[in-house]
Each structure stands twice: as C-alpha cells, then as structure tokens.
Amino acid sequence: MSLRKKTLKFDFSLIFCMIGLFLIGIFNLYSITEGQSKSYLVSYQIVWFCLSLSIAFGFSFISSNNLLRYSYWIFFFNILLLILVLVLGKVGMGAQRWIGIGPIRIQPSEFMKLSLIFALARWFSEKSPDQSVSLKETLLPLAFVLPPMFLIYKQPDLGTSLILLIIYSFIIFYRGLHWKSIFKVAGLILLAGILMYSFLLKSYQKKRILTFLNPYEDAKDAGYNAIQSEIAIGSGLFWGKGFNKSSQASLNFLPEKHTDFVFSIFSEEHGFFGSVILIILFALLFYRLISIAKDANRIFDSIFVIGVVAIFFSHIFVNIGMVSGILPIVGLPLPFMSYGGSSLLLFGMCIGFVNSISTSRTIF
C-alpha cells in the first residue's frame, strides 16, 4: 500500500484530539509564562510538539508485527538506560532522572511506561489469551514491573513508578482477572502501600502525602501550594476570568505552574465551562482509544492500546486530581498541556503506535 493511501486511513479523530489538546495547552502555556523570564518555554514547547507529531506520524508506519517481535528487547534496553541513569546520578551530584545527549536530555523513566506495555502486552497475549487470567498467572509478569519500579523509585521519582503499577493493573483487569482476585490484589496493594510509606519513602515524599492529607498542617510551602491551586481553580467560577487574566499565575503563587499546575491556571482563566470541555475532550480521546482496543485484529494490539489508555488516564486523572485537591501532589504532567519534552515525545509515540494499530485494522 502506498504511503498516501495509508496516510488517508489514519485515525484522524485520534490525531485531532492530540492537536486539539496541544493547541489548548500552548495558549495556556503562553498565558502562564507571558511577560516572565520563562516565556521562551512556549517556543520550546512548539518545537517539542512538532517533534512529537513527526514521531507520531513516523511510528504510525511501524507494523505491530515488528513491535511484537522486538517487544522484550525494547523493554530490556530501557532497563539498561534506567541503570545507566542511576549510575550517572551516583557519579554526579544528587538526584538525576535524565541522560544528556548533546543538548538534549532524555528521561528513560518516561519511556519505561511504554516499554513496560510492550513487555506485558506480549506476555499476556502469548499465555492462553482465550482464558481469563488467574491471580496466580499475574504474579510472574510482576517480574517486568518491579525492577523498573524500583529503579525509577531510586531516582527518586515516586509518581512515575506508581504509574507502572497502574499500567499493570489496567492490563490484568482487561485480561479478565476475576473480581474476587481483584479485591485480593487491591488489599495486597494497600498493604504494600502502607509498608512502603513506613519504610521506603523519603521524608519529602512522605511530606507530600501528608501535605495532601492535610494541606493546612505543613510548615513549609507545599501545603500552601495546594491551597493556592485550589484558590486558582475556584476563583475561575463558571466562565473563568478570561484568557491571560489569571491572577494566581503572574504573582508566582504557584511553583511549577508551567508543568504540574497548568490545569489550575487553565481552570482559573476558563472556569468550570472550559474545564468541563477539556475533560470531555480527554473523554473523547479515551472513547476512541477503547474503540481501537475493541476493534484490534490481535490480542497483542488490543492489550497494547489498553496500556496506552492506562498511561493517559493515570496522567490526566492524577494531575487534575492533585491540583484540585483530591490527590497528593506527586508531580505528573498533564498530557499535551504541561511543558516538557520527554513527556510530549512519549505521548506522541503512544499516539503513533495506536494509530498504526488502528490503521492496520482496516487493511486485510
């Protein structure tokens, strides 16, 4: 099939969602950074998005047969990169999450989300996919999940390492894990969470969680950020203050407002109305993704798309949840809206792979 023909078969609703979200995001970012020392971020973000879009385009032509074939290799290569980051971090000073290649910094932990999906999708599509997966069968593939979780947790990046767990949960749920087992696992995770909290978490991570549980108790600025974020959102009322009229943004009340807190500013400027429209746009994205998963030719493709659903959902839900005060502030970007090259590239790849799966569905 010719390039042109194939391109015409692209899943345009998917790409429309991506571009639409990005456009909203870039105007929002402009509003946040305008007149401040960080206004260059807007042009950077546009460059990153173009890159991300080209990657999405390019990856649309990778057949899922190849993905299946190299899935484990991709996974192991990513693990190596994570180890490398840890070693480099040891050599340098303090926490390090990225590898520098020339002027570009790559965060292997971002791509681990995708690599894990490859490994899990292959594993679960090869082990009697016609039967619901039993609790016992979910234990072995944990060997894919725990090592990268540990490596990323060591960086330290709690948010990302928890996302790996969410991806895993989505996939075993999708593979028909029995409800009874689900409750058992949920109980287990709860227990693990409690243990982790008491033994493993760094003090600042604990503080974040405590800050979330009671933002008003904190002696440092973290609780104050949560309050300021809520003030920003709440003050948007129904219609919002209007584009570029955020009062919380210009005074630096919110740190990381171009990454973690983009939604707060968006919601302040566009109100409940704008926020709901944004959420509906996200919901449309999921509607499309789930449809693609259902229409997939092969179970590998289908599981892969569910994994992508898990990535997008965890980012969106955790991000909006944390800035609106129902989840702890863990520092996850909002897809296509938050500033950040690595995350944009990752989401572009996701869209590309899914598009490839969607396109291949209609050929045969």
């Binding site: 020392s37 996919p129 016609d130 989505f170 749920f173 999708y174 593979r175 028909g176 003090s203 933002p215 008003y216 108790e217 002696a219 440092k220 600025d221 609780g223 104050y224 309050i227 809520e230 003030i231 920003a232 959102i233 709440g234 003050s235 948007g236 009322l237 129904f238 009062s247 005074l251 630096n252 009340f253 919601s267 302040e268 109100g271 409940f272 926020s275 709901v276 959420i279 919901a283 999921f286 509607y287 789930i290 998963a293 259902k294 229409d295 997939a296 030719n297 092969r298 179970i299 493709d301 289908s302 569910i306 659903v309 959902f313 839900f317 909006i320 949840g321 609106s324 005060g325 129902i326």
Partner: protein
C-alpha cells in the same frame, strides 16, 4: 481454539467496563471542580483577586548562651528592617527617590538588593536596610501611604553582651550563603531558605542545631498597600490555616565564667595574646580568650564594610582565635615534658645532677644556656626552677625524638584536643617519620636538643598547653576540653549534658609526676625561681615560664634589652601552670605575643586568674583564717 479476533471480542466486556470506570472518575473530577467553582467559588474568587492570604515565617528565638556563673552572655533582641514587597510596589521611581532620603541609601544600592531576589516570588519581602534607627522606623511607619510596598519588618537579632571578651567563643550568625545552602540541606535534612540565619563560627556554629529552634508559619492577610494583619479564620474555609508556633531554640549553659573571662580581658587589654584556663578534673574550660577581638553583633546587624575591611587588614588578626588557631613555640614550658620522658625512660632520677657551665657541645655545635655564667650543679628540681637548658639537653642526648614525641602526644601535643570549635589547629610534635615526609631529610640529634627545650619544630596552641599542664596536675589524665556543659530547652529542662571524658592516660606512678610538680612549685615559690614574684602562700601557684625568640639572634643582638627591639622582633612570653600546688583545681596557660618575658608579661595573667578562681569557687582553700 479461538482465532485472534474472537479472542479480542472476549475482552469487549472488560473494555467497556474500563471506559465506564474512566468516565466515573472523570465525573468525580467534574464534581470536585463544581464544588470549588460553584460552592466555594465566591470566597475563592475574593482570595485570588485580593491575594489576601500569604504565609510568612515566624522566626524562632535562638537559644541563649549562659555562663558558668549564670549570666546571660548571648541573647536575642528585636531588629527592625525596611523591606520591599514587589507585589505592592507602585510608582517605583517616586517611591524609591523618597526612600533614598529616608534610608540614606543610593538608588543603586537599593536596586542591587532587589536584583538578588529576581527569581523569587513577588509576594516575598526583600530586606532593603537592616537594623533601622527609631527615627527611620518612625519616618516609614507614619507615612506608609507614601511608600506603597515598603514596610518595617521585625526579626530577631543576636545580642552579645560584653561581646569583645567572648567574640571567638560565641562566633557569630549570618545569612546562609548559596554555597552552604545545598550542603546544609543535606547535612541537616532541613529545608533552609536563602536568608535563614545560621551559625558561622564559634559556639554559634558548633551548636547551631541546638540553638536554632524551629521557625513557625503564620498566615497573614494583606491589604492593597501590602499592610498586613494576622489571618483570622472567620468563614472557617481554610479550616487548617492556623499559625504554626515556632519552637524556641535550646539554651546552652557553657563552662566559661563570665567574671573570670572579664578579668582575663582586663589583664590582656592592649596586649596581643591568649589565655586558657581549665578545670583540671573535668576538662571544663573556665576562661578562653584571644586578643584583640571583634564585635560579633556586627555580623548579624548588617555588616559595615569598613569594619570588616579593618578586621581583615589588621596585622594583629582579630578574627583569629589565638587559643586554638594560632600555634607558638612553647619554649621552656615544654621542658617538663622532656623531664617526664627522662624520668619514665630512667635516663635520670629525681636525684640525678648535671653540671651547667653555661653551655654544652654536640659535635662542633655549642648549645648555650640562657644564663651565660651557668647554673653550676643542677638537680631536676633546680633545673625546672631555674629553667636550665643544659640539664634538659643532657637528657635529650640520651632520648630519641620518637620517644619524646610519644610522651608529648600522650599529653596532647601535636594532636587536636577535639574541642567543639571549628578550625582548631593540631600544633606540631615532630618525629623521624614526620621529618622524612615533610623535609625529605633524616632527623639529626641537634634537633632533638632544640626540641627538648620547646624550640625548633615544636609548636603548640594555648589550649594544648593548658590542657597538658592540667594532665600533669591531675595525675596524668588528658581530658577532652569541654565548652558546653548542658543543653537546656526553653522550659528549663536539661536535654543534653556533656560529661568529662578522658582522652589519654599517661599511666605513670604519681611520684614521678610529683617530682615535676615540685619543680614547678619552686619556679614560683623558691627564692631562685623564675616566677618568684608570684609567690603567694594561699594561691600556691605552680608553673613554668617561657620566653621564645621570634627572630634569629643576629637581628636583635645590637639591642640591649628586649623592650628596645622593634615590636615584632620582641620575644613571645609564655606561662603555664596550675593551682593550688597540693590540690590542683585549675590549670592555666597564657601567651603574650612580643611580651618579652614569660614571667613578667604572661605570669600576671595566670596568677591573677588562678587567684580569682580559687577565691570564687574554693574560698576555703584561700581563706586566711585556715
């Protein structure tokens, strides 16, 4: 067997279910937004428009430093600073030109201060001028509407009472600098901010964590001019936004006696030098003074550049703590270490006598005694009493430098004492391997002879010297010098105590030490002793004088006496001793730079301190009725 597509179809139920979960959770988010933007919207809108709510640091009062005799040495007092909050700054040029006149600062200086905080949030106040005068405060406070964005902020400043007598001990506090910030964050696991005050020297530094306390947080409401009042939670919306109280720092009870410290300062007035007095049983430091000194309060109050430059350029080095950072030749005060080594190694007995005719020879070099005519027949006691070089150098003929170094180390020479002050130097006690390493040459015997009378390579700090004499007087136990006795919390509860700690024990029979002590007693109390002018039946001081040359003899031989030399060529004066002789309580060492004569310059410092100490703490020992 199913084919692939049928397998996917088997999963449709779960796919729909997942979508359902996603929609439900999105619904939850929308519900939350509805709550914030409708139910709480009006209140939150008000907050955002007025930026009413602001969190501010409540500075914790730093702990006090209290002397042995329960006098407050270091305290806090409020300090008033002029600050600008950029968020409220209006008509910048106009405001600043008015401000220039009030604060007496140039536009340039004002802008420089603001520029330093460029990346910081606009609601955070920036200090423009510290320590305002009453007049400046009045000028600003009474016409706040003329200065939008400018206000007077209260913070805590350190007050050092009779500061110059304890400057080196107290140290000082100042704002944490950008180099220290990451280091201290890691070290203390504490989120410091630029502008936080931390101890930078002395006790303020060593006990920073005890003294610091914990800053609190307070929520304030601000009006359009940036004036603030405490946030009162009337609508009960921010249910938890109550002030977090600051926790005051712990007080330190230190071992220094204020009265004796003042006396020492008086005795060393106009002189350059240092003195250390130690409780011989506990190692507690009773007096520790270095002159000239500086004013630590000037570091927290906003340092005057001229003052700082004058401190740096002063050739007498006032910033230097001469009790621990400077090292000196111990001179004759070191002779008792040679004597001790000779006795332990059985090179001499207390009854061994040598003849001194004014000099001795080793190879083709002549070693002179300070007394040209010679001391005649000299016993150990007489040698100590009259400080006969020849006697000790004759011991040194039989003594290996490594053996001497070993005993000297046991008495703390060449080793840091471990006092809780930064920047202590270790002094120097040479050995064969040391010389090989640093000079690359072999040790020669002549150097042992020089070292045996405290010259050549041997270097000591005043603290080491006092501590060595304390060990001689207490039976051979080298104590760790203690500066802080107790850490006491704000409620008066003792949270930490520092117990006496023996670091080294020379383990010899006391009769050997007694011989040394008798010699030292005769230095002061025998009619031939080099410090006989301090003979006092009540104080019963025992000690040793030392007078050390600081330049080679040839430079000064055309002068008749030391007092005629150019100042910096004059001999250093050393005196170390303890009292009372028969029941030692306190050991003291004093070094007066270019004081010419140990007995004349350093002696009075030691004698007067010993006397005053005994009168104050052991009156029964010095009462005349006894």
């Amino acid at each position: 067997m199913f084919d692939e597509e049928e397998i996917v179809e088997l999963h449709h139920e779960r796919a729909d279910f997942l979508f359902g979960i996603i929609l439900t959770l999105f619904g939850l988010l929308i519900l939350r937004l509805f709550y914030l933007q409708f139910i709480r919207g009006d209140i939150l809108y008000k907050y955002s428009i007025e930026n009413r709510l602001r969190s501010e640091v409540v500075w914790a009062p730093r702990g006090k430093i209290i002397s042995r005799d329960n006098e407050v040495l270091v305290d806090n007092r409020p300090r008033f600073d002029a600050v600008v909050t950029r968020q409220y700054l209006k008509k910048k040029d106009e405001t600043f030109s008015k401000l220039e006149k009030v604060l007496n600062l140039s536009r340039e200086e004002l802008q420089k201060k603001i520029r330093k905080y460029r990346g910081e949030p606009a609601y955070r106040p920036i200090i423009l001028k510290k320590n305002l005068s009453n007049k400046e405060i009045a000028l600003i406070e009474t016409q706040l509407e003329k200065f939008p964005g400018i206000s007077v902020q209260v913070s805590i400043s350190r007050e050092y009472l009779s500061e110059e007598m304890g400057a080196h001990l107290y140290g000082y506090i100042s704002e944490i600098n950008s180099d220290q910030l990451p280091k201290y964050k890691k070290r203390d696991n504490y989120a410091y901010n630029l502008g936080d005050l931390v101890g930078q020297a002395g006790i303020e530094k060593s006990f920073d964590l005890d003294l610091r306390g914990q800053n609190g947080r307070e929520y304030v409401e601000v009006d359009a001019l940036g004036r603030k009042r405490k946030y009162v939670n009337t609508d009960n919306f921010f249910s938890g936004v109550e002030a977090i109280k600051s926790v005051p720092g712990n007080n330190l009870k230190i071992t220094i006696d204020k009265e004796l410290q003042e006396l020492a300062a008086d005795l060393l007035k106009e002189k350059v030098g240092s003195v250390v007095a130690i409780d011989v049983k506990t190692g507690e430091i009773i007096t520790m003074l270095s002159t000239p000194s500086f004013k630590p309060s000037s570091f927290t109050r906003g340092l005057d550049k001229k003052y700082w430059q004058s401190l740096l350029n002063n050739p007498l080095r006032p910033l230097y703590d001469k009790t621990i950072q400077e090292h000196y030749s111990p001179g004759s005060t070191f002779k008792i270490i040679t004597a001790l080594s000779g006795l332990i190694e059985e090179i001499v007995t207390p009854y061994t006598s040598f003849h001194c005719n004014g000099s001795m020879k080793l190879g083709n070099r002549t070693y002179h005694c300070w007394k040209e005519r010679g001391h005649g027949d000299v016993s150990l006691r007489k040698a100590i009493r009259e400080s006969c070089n020849v006697y000790f150098q004759k011991i040194a003929l039989e003594l290996d430098i490594d053996v001497l170094a070993q005993y000297a180390n046991l008495l703390g020479f060449g080793v840091k004492t471990g006092i809780s002050l930064a920047r202590e130097t270790s002094g120097l006690m040479p050995s064969r391997s040391w010389k090989k390493k640093t000079h690359g040459t072999k040790w020669n015997k002549g150097e042992t002879l020089s070292c045996s009378i405290g010259q050549s390579f041997v270097l000591t700090t005043t603290l080491q010297l006092a501590n060595a004499y304390a060990a001689i007087s207490n039976g051979g136990k080298l104590m760790k010098p203690i500066l802080v006795r107790e850490v006491i919390d704000a409620k008066g509860k003792v949270v930490k105590t520092f117990e006496p700690e023996v670091i080294k024990n020379i383990n010899i029979e006391d009769h050997i030490l007694r011989e040394i002590r008798s010699g030292l007693y005769e230095v002061v109390n025998h009619e031939q002793g080099t410090a006989r002018r301090f003979k006092d039946k009540l104080v019963k001081l025992a000690g040793k004088t030392g007078t050390t040359q600081v330049v080679s003899k040839s430079k000064v031989e055309h002068y008749e006496k030391c007092e005629d030399f150019p100042y910096k060529y004059r001999h250093n004066a050393v005196f170390a001793g303890f009292a009372p002789y028969d029941d030692p309580k306190i050991a003291i060492a004093a070094i007066v730079e270019h004081g010419c004569n140990g007995g004349l310059s350093a002696g009075p410092v030691v004698y007067n301190l010993a006397k005053r100490y005994l009168e104050k703490y052991h009156p029964n020992l010095v009462s005349k009725i006894k």
